[in-house]
């Protein structure tokens, strides 16, 4: 009768050999003509995604339903596969950095840091004290924006609209600072092997300090609206439970692992960038459900804010780049006037930075979990193998285990609680 119905009919099926639409075979229907159908024993297969806002990207879940209960979840990933690891084998180390922006695009600066640290470990480069603190700032700013996006989208998934607006407002303030520093809001390409693309500009420190002073207010507001909200608690408590042993067995990392009660945080347990000298706490959950994962991320925002305040107090003066002309490009003015600087500039741009034969793995605590960068070098300027350990890919693998037996609407909550970014899952 209405056009809408007809669109729906045409949109679901595929095309048969003759170009005529065929019925999608997995939808339920009567088994035979004139037969009485027993609805009670019938299972339904539905496709969730890949184009669906609640799957947080191009994730496709084939779900077998018994009524409203999820019997089986079969995830399909790869719709956003871009072959970054293959591309990395054809690029100099510094040319790989823009690729890392596009993996987990909600925390680009932290990805830049992780990749640069792996290359530096491979080449044996020790970065400057100022660079270390600036990289901590980059990592914690990324954690805040990533968790704010997570909080906003998850609250929308579960029917709360207001926290989304508050969270995105805060994210916007960090994005402004990020834009001030790197010139980009999303594709930051902040780091270079041996240092940073640029020092922070004038006014950045004041801007960040102002942010850290008012940011906890927003967190407290979100806390007041959600944490003891009956609807929120009802939708999230006891949903998608993983025990500590299961979380370890599934190789989960980050807030997913800690919500299950495993106190593991790369910043505390295998410290890098002098994280051991900062005063912060790592929240650990006990139930391993969606609610605990929410509490983890909310508290991590408070802790990141604390770390940011400490970095601003201790930010030392000095250069951001190591003093090594083989690794760091000379300033443009010198490259144009000084013969030696020009040669170094030429060699670096044309030949790249050569890494010694060997391999290095660096895992850092990204907002989503442990981001690993693994380089294997045969002595040339391009890596033989660049592997990203993608935290959200590995966390997502547990979704079938978590969702089976719950209701379909809980599957949405569980999927949201994993905090996936398809750019990173598919790479």
């Amino acid at each position: 009768m209405s056009k809408r119905t007809i669109d729906f009919e045409l949109a679901t099926p595929g095309l048969g050999a003759g170009g005529a639409p065929t019925r999608v075979p997995l939808a339920a229907g009567p088994a035979g003509e004139g037969q009485e159908h027993d609805l009670g024993g019938e299972h339904l297969l539905i496709n969730l995604g890949p184009q669906h806002p609640a799957t947080h990207g191009v994730l496709r879940l084939v779900v077998e339903l018994d009524g409203e209960t999820v019997v089986r979840v079969i995830p399909h990933v790869g719709y956003l596969h871009s072959g970054f690891e293959k591309l990395g084998e054809y690029r100099h180390y510094n040319q790989i950095i823009p690729l890392t922006d596009r993996t987990d695009y909600l925390s680009p600066m932290a990805n830049n840091v992780g990749m640069a640290m792996a290359a530096e470990k491979l080449m044996g480069i020790e970065i400057t004290p100022r660079c270390k603190v600036l990289r901590v700032i980059a990592c914690e700013m990324s954690r805040i924006i990533s968790h704010m996006v997570w909080l906003g989208t998850t609250s929308i998934d579960l029917g709360a609209f207001t926290p989304f607006l508050w969270a995105f407002q805060e994210r916007e303030r960090i994005y402004n600072l990020q834009e001030m520093w790197t010139g980009a809001r999303l594709t930051t390409s902040l780091t270079r092997v041996g240092g940073l693309m640029a020092d922070v500009p004038d006014g950045f420190v004041e801007g960040l300090r102002q942010f850290t002073q008012t940011y906890p207010n927003t967190l407290n507001e979100i806390d007041r609206v959600l944490t003891r909200n009956a609807v929120w608690a009802g939708r999230t408590q006891g949903i998608g439970v993983l025990t500590a042993d299961e979380a370890i067995n599934y190789s989960l990392s980050g807030p997913m692992l800690r919500a299950s009660g495993v106190p593991w945080d790369m910043r505390k347990d295998q410290p890098y960038l002098d994280y051991e000298t900062y005063d912060f706490d790592v929240p650990v959950g006990e139930h391993g459900d969606v609610y605990d994962r929410y509490l983890m991320r909310l508290e991590e925002c408070h802790q990141s804010n604390r770390i940011l305040q400490q970095t601003l107090d201790r930010l030392p003066d000095g250069p951001v780049n190591v003093d090594d002309p083989r690794v760091i490009l000379p300033p443009k003015s010198r490259a144009m006037s000084d013969m030696e600087a020009m040669i170094f500039h030429f060699k670096q741009v044309m030949e790249g930075v050569k890494a010694p034969v060997g391999e290095a793995y660096v895992g850092i605590e990204n907002p989503k979990g442990e981001l690993g960068n693994y380089f294997v070098s045969d002595g040339s300027a391009k890596p033989v193998r660049w592997r990203i350990r993608p935290p959200s890919f590995i966390n997502l693998a547990a979704i079938s285990k978590m969702a089976e037996g719950h209701l379909l609407s809980d599957l949405i909550a569980i999927n949201a609680s994993v905090d996936i970014v398809m750019g990173e899952v598919d790479r």
């Binding site: 997995l26 339920a28 297969l45 790869g78 045969d378 033989v384």
Partner: protein, 205 residues
């Protein structure tokens, strides 16, 4: 040197190959024959307790003479110690290695990815199919060194295949079997399921 290496040698003897330090990390090469046994020992033995599997990946070198490596990153959460275990595979021989999914559920997707990207078969894996590339992908294994950056097929061929692809071929065998249980499959897909066929590359008209 990491004490785990000496303990491994004492327990498994000649199955343990060379051990090396790279940038402060310990790498130990083991034979593929008793991989599962060695991994189980590393996971369960008190004093080792490498209970956390960080990652599985593979490396192929530009030097064609060098063997392919399957790399396992293990971690002991108690002792805060990492260990990297490698298995070497002869590229001219059969690329098969035992799956560690009986030990770590997290290995499931990681091994699927290695299979997808390198063509290394994990024996005993419960669901070894492509994960990032689609099931009918016929160009080979993208992260192998003999795979060109732009793919094996021309752009025109890739477009032609994409346009001719049957969207229903994207259902996995497992999904087809669920639908079959409820008499929901059309005959051609039922036939595909019976053959256990994973879908085919569409032919040109």
């Amino acid at each position: 040197m990491n004490p785990s290496v000496d303990a491994l040698r004492a327990t498994f003897g000649s199955a343990i190959g060379r051990a090396q330090e790279a940038c402060g990390d310990t790498i130990v090469t083991v034979g593929s024959a008793n991989l599962l046994e060695i991994m189980r020992w590393l996971r369960d033995t008190p004093g080792q307790r490498h209970d956390y599997l960080v990652d599985i990946t593979a490396v192929e070198y530009r030097d064609r003479e060098r063997p392919l490596e399957v790399v396992y990153f293990l971690r002991s959460l108690e002792r805060k110690a990492d260990l990297r275990v490698k298995v070497e595979l002869d590229p001219s021989g059969e690329l098969t290695v035992d799956s560690v999914t009986p030990l770590w559920a997290g290995a499931n997707w990681l091994e699927r990815e290695v299979y997808d990207m390198f063509g290394i078969v994990f024996a005993g894996h419960p669901d070894l199919r492509r994960i990032l590339m689609w099931e009918t992908y016929a160009e080979g294994y993208p992260l192998r060194k003999d795979f060109p950056l732009r793919g094996r097929f021309s752009r025109a061929e890739q477009v032609r295949q994409a346009l001719n692809a049957n969207p229903e071929a994207h259902y996995s065998i497992e999904e087809l079997s669920i639908a079959e249980a409820y008499d929901e499959l059309p005959p051609d897909m039922r036939e595909r399921l019976r053959r256990g066929q994973r879908g085919t590359v569409p032919e040109s008209e």
